[in-house]
């Protein structure tokens, strides 16, 4: 089903907001009902098109955070300062509002339940969104493939999906890294990830995992370099870069 969605031009479909969920002070999940949605794979994104009363339109891309479930998709939006679209989606949009959606998009940065090798996920800031879709897809498909997540963020207040990630899930190992502020009694250091973080918190290269790295470009370049220096094959690392502002969208 999702395989067929890889080919052919994409049409814009009408989407209606059916729920919203606040994740952090700046991030919100928007749940959309999209009649005719062809399904999607974990890691793919959708383009959202907003139209103002005077016909002005803006299009932005958002990774889907949910597992494919009929006509329903969820996107988690992190507000970008002075953004044109993200403040609307995180603060204004409400149940019943409409927009248009095109997707699913992107066959490179995906995890399929048929994959059997261990998986290493590395998230910087809002880069956690498509990786959360992969974690949820693994649970939903009842796969036992071992997953490790290294989630680097500014501070505990900016952790998206915090409560869900706190719940123990068999075969999923989560490590946090804080770059500015750590929780009280944090035994680790505060700062950017480094070779030590990789050595302590990620699969050894000998396990030949597939690695998914997502976040701002600077973070992705750093994490990718550290993985390669730790012995991982470049070809086993898939990346999605959000740009220096931290969001593909604004």
């Amino acid at each position: 089903m999702a395989r067929a969605a890889v080919l052919g031009r994409l049409t814009w479909r009408v989407a209606t907001v059916v729920a919203t969920r606040r994740e952090t002070a700046t991030a919100r999940t928007v749940v959309l009902d999209v009649p005719g949605w062809p399904g999607h794979l974990a890691g793919q994104h959708a383009d959202l098109r907003l139209t103002a009363e005077d016909g002005y339109t803006a299009v932005r891309s958002y990774s889907m955070s949910s597992v494919a479930e009929g006509d329903r998709i969820e996107v988690t939006v992190d507000e970008v300062e002075n953004g044109e679209v993200s403040p609307y989606l995180t603060q204004v949009v409400d149940i019943g509002d409409q927009m248009e959606v095109r997707g699913p998009i992107g066959g490179w940065f995906v995890w399929r339940p048929e994959q059997t090798e261990p998986v290493q996920l590395i998230a910087g800031g809002s880069g956690i969104v498509p990786l959360m879709a992969m974690i949820r897809a693994r649970t939903s498909a009842e796969r036992a493939v071992p997953f490790r997540l290294l989630y680097s963020t500014r501070g505990p207040e900016s952790l998206i999906y915090r409560d869900e990630l706190r719940k123990p899930v068999g075969g999923l190992d989560v490590t946090y890294a804080y770059t500015r502020r750590a929780p009280e009694e944090w035994p680790g250091t505060v700062g950017r990830i480094n070779a030590g973080t990789i050595a302590a918190a990620t699969w050894p290269a000998a396990f030949e995992p597939t690695c998914y790295v997502c976040g701002p470009t600077g973070f992705v370049e750093l994490a990718t370099r550290l993985l390669v220096e730790a012995g991982h094959d470049q070809a086993s690392i898939r990346a999605e870069r959000f740009g220096p502002s931290g969001g593909r969208s604004s």
Binding site: L7, R9, S61, G107, W108, P216, R238, R241, R248
Partner: protein, 86 residues
């Protein structure tokens, strides 16, 4: 320098032009011969146009400009593109 992203950013726009998923395509740089997934290349822009550069030599692989109702493409920096069609 981290002022670039990757081809995932313009995957939707590329789907408007090519009926296949270009994020899973492989290409060969016409300048240095490096053959790699397009997802590996460095994407500048995407405004006023997007410019995809070879990670090895920085030469332009592909350029695209989107205007209302029209899109222009320059693929002359790629000596081949291999796409997954099924």
């Amino acid at each position: 320098m981290t002022d670039f992203v990757d081809v995932n950013t313009v995957a939707g726009e590329l789907r408007d032009v090519f009926a296949v998923d270009m994020t899973t395509a492989t290409g060969r740089c016409a300048h240095c011969g490096r053959t790699a997934p397009l997802a590996d290349a460095k994407l500048y822009g995407p405004t006023p146009g997007f410019v995809l550069r070879c990670r090895g030599c920085d030469t332009v692989l592909m350029r695209m400009v989107s205007a209302p109702g029209r899109t222009w493409l320059d693929l002359s920096g790629l000596s081949f593109v291999e796409v997954v069609t099924g």
